[in-house]
Symmetry: D3
């Protein structure tokens, strides 16, 4: 995370100094801040939170590390410094841990459920993180045992319906996609299909991955073996409305990859910060 | 929103160009992108989304404006330009609208519920938006009819338990808070209390606002009239675990302000974008 | 102060290296820089100056701290490092201290004068600092014993004539202001009035603060008790052309707050820097 | 001025929206803002102010241009747009004009006084502008008829006492300076001298410019002809405590360049902004 | 290219205004700048150059577009505006075009040579562009008919010797690589091998691409068919010292991808800019 | 180099984490990275490379310093830290060293050749570095023994044909240039001439430097003594197509300054990085 971002996260919360701590006359009091977990989950964002405290001149000690499983009452981070530094960082740093841990924990729950049914399936999250926090949320997904479906538009060739509509039809788009792959042989070529027919046609060609959108579990179960038969190498991904209530069903269909944005809207993990004076 | 932020939101999604659109050879095709709502709610983020398209050279037309109530099927934004501009902006712009509208819609639901019971109560959101999007999410809260409890640490004097612990006790902290107010007479002085006793003691003094944290509805109902009696001018705020399931109860207690972070973790509003060629 | 700003202040003065120190061949000579005060006042900006030296690889020791009263000859800061680091930082760092200390010293003189007449009055500075240095100058005002009237447009509801003109008259504006306060009960509501009549009318309502602009001392003396009688809670602020020559008179009127921009155009405090070789 | 700076100047004043204009419900009212001069002087900063209004979506018309002489009552700039844009830009834009015009006007007064005595003398300002506004203040100096002594450390070879002390004596420093000039023949070589003797010695060598610091007018009058005799090409600059009260005397000594920081602490020019509704 | 970058490219060349144009008194003269090609090649960077002129208030017309083949004498861009805008942008804009076109032209020559021998081979450039211009140079490579081997470390799994050394041997690294691929099925897995033996072993497994470093043409010719036999799907890339003098030989070996950094150090294309007054 | 730039150079190469090192499960392995020279030359960029490693949490030791002459096999830098830090910095840091050292080495070769013929001549590079790396490349030029002709447009008065064309002729431009010098006596005045006649006319006036563009060696040899005769103080610079093959000839003409962009397109110096585990 660039210094610029770390400092911007602080500046959001403290554009012109911490009025309360100043006005109470306690700014220079030597103090400790303890970040304490109040809910089970996967912790994440500690590295960034430490840098936030550090930027303001506090020293930090970590008691767990990003990606660790934590239980209520666990002490995660301890910062020491003048009260003004701790009060300036406290809430903004805690928010980073809460959101990152929320994403990590949700990912981990989805991964656990899916793997319990199909140990080979992987859970991949989308490009749909809130604006500006993609980098933090991707890290949280990895901490929770997930992977990233596609980090950006610069990474792979992935044909959406919005490309097909500009080319003028599925067959033509498939043809163009295969040409594109010849020009960019090192990039994965994936195709998001809108129907069973398209899925089967795409699988017959040299595409690397077929992405199925909003398809029912029953249909998917019938489709997967057919796709594998047509193209044993093909990677089969499914997306669309998949969350904790139905991920086991989707995992059971035998797909390779389940694509979801659900972790990005997870509730932040419940964290608290206690500040007290060094006596 | 500074240009720097608008462009950073795009760059996250497209660090080195849009591989797919380039590789398919459709980059210069004159095209249209339509942003269409698929779920009822309050729309927000259109202004920012337009600037994202505009930055890439597409021209935009808005059919609704930020804060409008929208229904499924509504066309919100239409952008025109070469396919490369539309494909580069599409998903990143849609994500901004989805999250901002999710926040606005959730706020609006909370406000509606609370006001149905107590028309004078206001719903104020906290400083706990995800890091980096505070400005966007604050705007969305306003679009949904809420207000901002406290935009930053620089704004008001608000004594938390983490201040009290550094001062050495509630009585002493209250004394220091009132001194602080004498030095900063133009700033609001608020006090977050941990018990009924503290609430009553604080109300007797010249503080402007008492903030009650994690207090039950029953207790709150008994406390509010006592506080008003002790100090008719006092503003009474309550926070802690308030969401759609209990906001009506809290509103019915007669408090002035309900403080919540719930809108910040709302599900994004369901939006889609259709791109097609100009023929 | 974000790292970005600290580094930009240096870059302004040294876009492509320090030609002189390089060309003289003394760049790597181990050296000391001493920042010495040449005029009595309140020192400020040392924290920022230290970071400027530190960024370039010099180590810093402070002998006084921001907000201290200093006399001619006082050693404020000592930096050690290669000549190239000290020569690159010297002037730019000194300028930061000179301006910040000038602002702090002027504030302190205004505060001293005002308090000598009316110990309860506070001196608040405006939003009119030079562009880009608001954060530094606000800190300097606090160092000199002043407060900030209003840090930004996002902080309080403050009705100016430029709002009244859009609403269509004082009465209507007052009405709208009170409605605004009902929607934003936690924010202070202040009103800048243009006449005695407006002041009296505003005081009768529930506004928190009345701000009097360019009003004579005699008139003000008569007005203050009337306002207090109408509304004992009201905060009375006065602004407009108040500086060292007349602040005692204004303080003597019994207002609560004197608002001024004068510290922002104070002469920089006279500071010098001596660089010598470590032998 | 980079967009980043223009937007940062706005953001300082409006980190989270304009609370007042929003809360009053007048944000979308079509309005006009007029920037009006209230004091004679040289106007500057209009270009930057226009960009600030423009960034927020208002259209601007200028009635004078940067560097023009203006009189009280002159309309300088007219902006049209929704009230939210005008109220967001108004004060921050006005502050830019006030400070830049203050610098320009002060420069112009210094130049006028100096030229009235010695039409060939030039007034050059130092590197000591407030941190972060060097670029704006340099432009203002040019608008007022001054020049820039030395824009940054990267520009010329200028030996200060702080270099001499590292080299170990004036003679040795002069020798090293002349060597430096042989390596960098295209750069001006200037030397700040501490005494008459040093001035005369320096003039005898091939340096381009001698800079005299804190030297009295009488002494200077005797020194200038001697320096010219020793080196007819040499540029003679004088600095140190020169302001309106003594610039004529210094100009009369026949020096080529008078170096001063005085314009940087000039009082801002008195400007006002009137906002009204388009009817 | 973000606005921030466009403006930084200008600011490098003009930190404090254009001294010459100002000092000559021609700043406001209405003028034209013509960017003219003096050497055959592929033009690139015009889009960025236009934005540089536009940022300063000049209007631009393009006569060719990025990726076009150009001949000596061709007019590429015409800008109109005051002399100060044209003189401020001229050289910095021309430099962008020169370097980008140099990269595009060199790529195109490499592609032409390679395809003349083996029409199916593709030319991919590395991550080794000069720091900070990766995005511009990647675009130039595409303009010249090349592709990007791997835009960043976030894109694919590519095992270098520096990974193998941390894992403890080739066999173990290959095993770990295949495990990595099972966890990240959607990412390409490439392996840079150090010998023929490693190449053959790697090809037998499920890796997607084998990358051969600094291998002779003769050896490569013998190796390619063996690799294809072992794994018909495998992509074969070769890198290491490949430039115009030997690319045909390497192309003739039947590899799929030739990886090179050569375009990044190409000589800039010879371009000139003529500025004249509008009469 | 600002932190922002150091971090941007890293971010270019690692927008969303290092996929390979993560996926292989070796991210936390304690490791060493050694940067080793493979080609003789002048090393540069080590300071920046160290900061890149340091930013990611690795500790660095340097074995040579910027500007040192290095031979194949030399160990330049050793970094220690977890594999994720070393792998994230490695390539991006190496590229900085390679390019900066390439520029330094080429400069040094040009300087050596020129000085072997004419020890007094200096080699100055132009403003034509690739966009965004001017500061790094200038430093590399100094490391190689060159100087900078003119760092930016803000530095000196240098009249190009593109100024002459706006003024309306050489004689008139020369007159205006001399007037400009009277207004800016501290700035160097240089004139780029297009013919022998112009060179001679310019030399007769008070200009400081005449710059000859694309003039043959024979003609130059005849011209130099004439110019010196007309104006013994004048600095004579020559530019246009000067590189290693002809720099000795140009040096032999007796000019003061040879201006060239050749170092900016030098081949990067051959450097490698070896990463291994700490055992």
């Amino acid at each position: 995370m660039p210094t610029r971002v770390i400092e911007e996260w602080l500046r959001e919360d403290i554009p012109f100094g911490d009025l309360t701590t100043n006005a109470l006359g306690i700014a220079d009091k030597p103090s400790v801040a303890e970040v304490i977990v109040r809910e089970s989950g996967i912790i994440c964002g500690l590295e960034e939170a430490s840098r936030m405290y550090g930027t303001l001149g506090a020293s930090c000690e970590l008691f767990v590390k990003d990606g660790d499983k934590v239980s209520p009452g666990a002490l995660a981070l301890k910062a020491k410094g003048p009260a003004k530094a701790l009060h300036a960082a406290w809430r903004a740093a805690q928010v980073v841990i809460e959101y990152a841990s929320g994403v990590a924990t949700k990912t981990w729950r989805l991964v656990s459920k899916a793997k319990s049914v199909n140990p080979k399936v992987v859970i991949a999250t989308t490009r749909k993180a809130p604006p500006g926090v993609r980098s933090l949320y991707f890290k949280a997904v990895l901490s929770g045992g997930g992977i990233i479906h596609r980090a950006s538009l610069s990474e792979t060739i992935l044909i959406f319906h919005n490309h097909v509509s500009l080319i003028g039809g599925f067959e033509e788009a498939l043809k163009k996609a295969l040409e594109a792959k010849r020009r960019w042989p090192e990039k994965k070529l994936a195709f998001e299909v809108g129907s069973i027919e398209e899925a089967l046609k795409a699988a017959e060609t040299g595409i690397d991955e077929v992405q199925l959108d909003h398809i029912g579990v029953g249909e998917l179960k019938r489709l997967v073996p057919k796709l594998r038969e047509l193209n044993p190498q093909i990677i089969i991904a499914v997306a669309g409305g998949i969350d904790e209530h139905n991920i086991e069903e989707y995992a059971s269909t035998g797909v390779d990859v389940i694509v979801t944005s659900a972790p990005y809207h997870a509730k932040p993990l419940n964290i608290t910060t206690k500040i007290y004076a060094i006596t």
